[in-house]
Symmetry: D3
Subunit: 211 residues, 6 copies
């Protein structure tokens, strides 16, 4: 029989769908029972804007919504890091997010930010490469230096030293850029852990985006 | 601005496609220059069957084709392990393939066999979970025991002992099934390394399959 | 000669002080040149309050002060996590901070939060134990379960599962407490990395506090 | 008393032989009960040849013999990799086998292929060095580069990149040689795991060979 | 409220001292019941000298005192390594002790030898840096090379090779110095393990010394 | 051709002996130039006794002989640990030595103490198993508990806790035995590092002993 003949051949009987491994993702966001709190007006407006622009509220926001102070602090930090002006493009920041989340094998962040890389780059394969092994991607020297720093900082923060910063400077990054690389990598080291600790499930809609 | 507002919003300017990280995947399969050899008749027929059934010849086969003896041995072992009768379903074998390849962060195998999991299961999310972190998937006890064994065998083969086999037996696996789990996990520990050593690139077509 | 006779004996010649390994800590806070920005009024008031209450502004705040939005977001998240009402005492939150920072070998956080554990507990030795190896401390079952979770989440977030949450519940933690343990552990996984990436130096005053 | 005086001195009372740790190695080859299958004629002839030439059938072959298709595929791949023409000598291929098996601490493969290194090199110590720590051996630059690649590919396949292939080329290896190094290293990463998963026991005869 | 306002502020209510994590350190030295043996005269004199010069007998000596032969052998080796003439200063030897003990997270040795570094250097911060992360210290090239070798030898002894010795020679160390670095690092790899295996507790007096 | 046909077949042309990887072992004991010192009388007598009883002086003793104080301290500690009365048999102590040295991949100690295990046990295979992977050996519960403790103490001393001591007590060990297991494991963690740091070469005679 042909290798992998069962995978895509038209003659093949349609596989019986298994109960989906992800069927309830959008209803049970975290494995903790956290009583809902009313959204304060600014956060309610923010959620409405998400619905309007994205078509959905990212589950991480719903997960934090049990406590308005935590939700606000998370949103403020996230939006500053990922969306505010920076020497790093939004795509570069999302690439860091996914490469860090790949090291930490964080399901939530890989799904949500893998979709972001696909969307921002217009390159579905780039999203896969960041999630699977960024070292296998064809990257610019700048991108590679950035991800090497972010992943070393993730894996062995105690080994990051002046030489690592110097490598970023040689690749053209300013000191402010270095801060931003560190801050984004740091942020996802936090988010990966909150997501893993709570078994956070991504919105199903991410899976098909920008493929 | 809304969190992730840039990702999918309709008002958003279309991102300028970056030069794809994967653009040349189908032309440069491995990072080694290996002079082509003529395919022997049985392998030529096999490649033709792949084209007919899958619409393409998987790149791993093209990579091995420089040497007919190596190609034949690989195909024989692969087809026996993944397609011959076994107490493990084809989907289970592909789940092992992807979970092992995830531990080893093998780009080629994650792409090719991630597609197989999506296709065989009819569940795109299951493919993602196997590639990202199988521990985050909602699995049956049987599936979980199988993958725990395969991944431990991948990460720390020197620590696999009778208790590990006993756990598989408690989950309902026969001794023959245990062999098959070990053999599939072992095979992908080989293939992951051949692919990583040669920078093997998967066929682009896999990326969009069964999403 | 007596073992360690040279260490504390009164007859011993006073050692010639070496140029201190930390001499310039308070002047060069990070290894990045980040142009100062004027503090917005609320942050200026906050710094003044630190001076008044602590006698100094913690260096991490000065490090973030180059960008008011980043400073505000950091302060908001920090204060919510470490000082707002929680099922975890402030000491417990600081114990998590130090145990996580010990795993990550973060000099800044070990110094600053080691001092906090000493001060809040009234037990200088507890601060040392958290910084050196929390497993060697005589802890309550509750404290031990809390730190085991936080450190596993730090070391191998991808392995944290329902059983880990169940262990916390058995130790008496509520689901909200579990969130807080995860969020504090996550936060220091972020801060450890920002500090390591920038070679952040703690205020010298911490070293002698509450010994 | 003399250091180690008890180890080899002629005056020493003969130690009472302990029940051997390996006494039943040749009768219970794997820790799985796999019903025997009749050997197909070509494999029966192959086993007979082993008996004639080696004086025994290697246990790994007996282990695979429960399923003729698996046995044939294993033998075909093994013989191609280890015995067919290659830019690597047979000894070099066995050195890779043992260095990889040492990383994976595979008892079966270390015993069987350690014997092969001793026999092919005429140097018993070389076999020990490959099994214990290849870095301690006095190797040619070519041998060292080959083993560094094979062991890195074993330990961290995700980190193997163009620079690693370039190091092999600098040591004089062709691209075809690189394939062969990768394929042999990959094969033993498979075999180590099948052996460890099944607690495969080597033929006792290997232990004394070529000492 | 001000960040960290609770830590040192004068207005703050004094924290209720928790039962100390270390309260019984000086009474229960190890977690093994080892019947006391009478000290032989030379060791009794040695203990008396410790009392006179240090004001106490280090707990590690009391722990070994159950067996005079073991005590004598330990004292002889310790005193030779740490106090006898060497190309390494006593402070350098103590820095190695603490950096090795930090890698091994040994509570006893970090406390006792951290105090020694503080005392010998006259620099309390240097003691903290050695215990927390020697890479964050401002060290001379000589000190850094010495500690890099000692910590690599601790973490991955199998990877230490001629290049590592060459790096020490380039930093000005003689072959005899290299022996001493290795011997001190080796000794603390032993002591760390004896201390961890027996839950050895340091004398409380160390904590406050030379702060 | 038969698998492994080249290894032992009588028809096979004798392999051309390669320049031995170990040829100069007995002349160049360590990779450091350490000027020889005259042996003090007691050590000269000890070396003579080794010659008489073993037929050679173990290279580790020659390596330490550059400094009589270091040699004496090493011999005193070694002989107490390995030869003095203990609840552990001499074979058990040598099994610990080899299992620890296997974890640390120390060529010198694996060769010298592997020979000791073969000699003391009368079981050549047991020596191989200790050097390759003690988990693959058929051991008594007592032996297994002893080696599990010793190897955990080697790999992760910071994780050894009361539960680990309790496991030894359940296996029948006294507290004094636990000390001895820890002390022997600790000693070889020292010796392994001194040997690896200096590239110490074992006497060639060990290789063929008790096979």
């Amino acid at each position: 029989m042909a290798k992998r003949s069962g995978k895509t051949g038209p003659a093949k009987a349609k596989p019986k769908p298994r109960v989906s491994a992800a069927a309830t993702d959008d209803t049970a966001i975290v494995a903790l029972k956290l009583p809902a709190a009313p959204l304060p007006p600014d956060m309610a407006a923010y959620f409405a804007k998400c619905e309007e622009k994205l078509g959905f509220v990212p589950n991480v926001l719903k997960a934090y919504a049990f406590d308005p102070a935590k939700l606000s602090a998370f949103v403020a930090m996230y939006n500053d890091l990922m969306l505010a002006p920076s020497g790093l493009s939004k795509l570069e920041r999302e690439m860091i997010a996914v490469a860090v989340s790949s090291h930490n094998r964080c399901y939530y962040c890989l799904v949500a930010h893998g979709a972001a890389v696909r969307q921002l780059s217009g390159d579905p394969v780039l999203g896969e490469l960041m999630a699977m092994n960024y070292r296998a991607a064809r990257l610019s020297d700048r991108e590679r230096a950035m991800l090497d720093f972010a992943v070393k900082l993730t894996a062995e923060p105690w080994r990051v030293e002046e030489e690592d910063r110097a490598a970023l400077r040689r690749a053209g990054f300013t000191d402010r850029d270095i801060w931003d690389i560190a801050a984004v990598a740091g942020f996802f080291n936090m988010s990966n852990r909150v997501a893993s600790a709570t078994d956070m499930r991504p919105n199903s809609v991410y899976h098909g985006q920008s493929r």
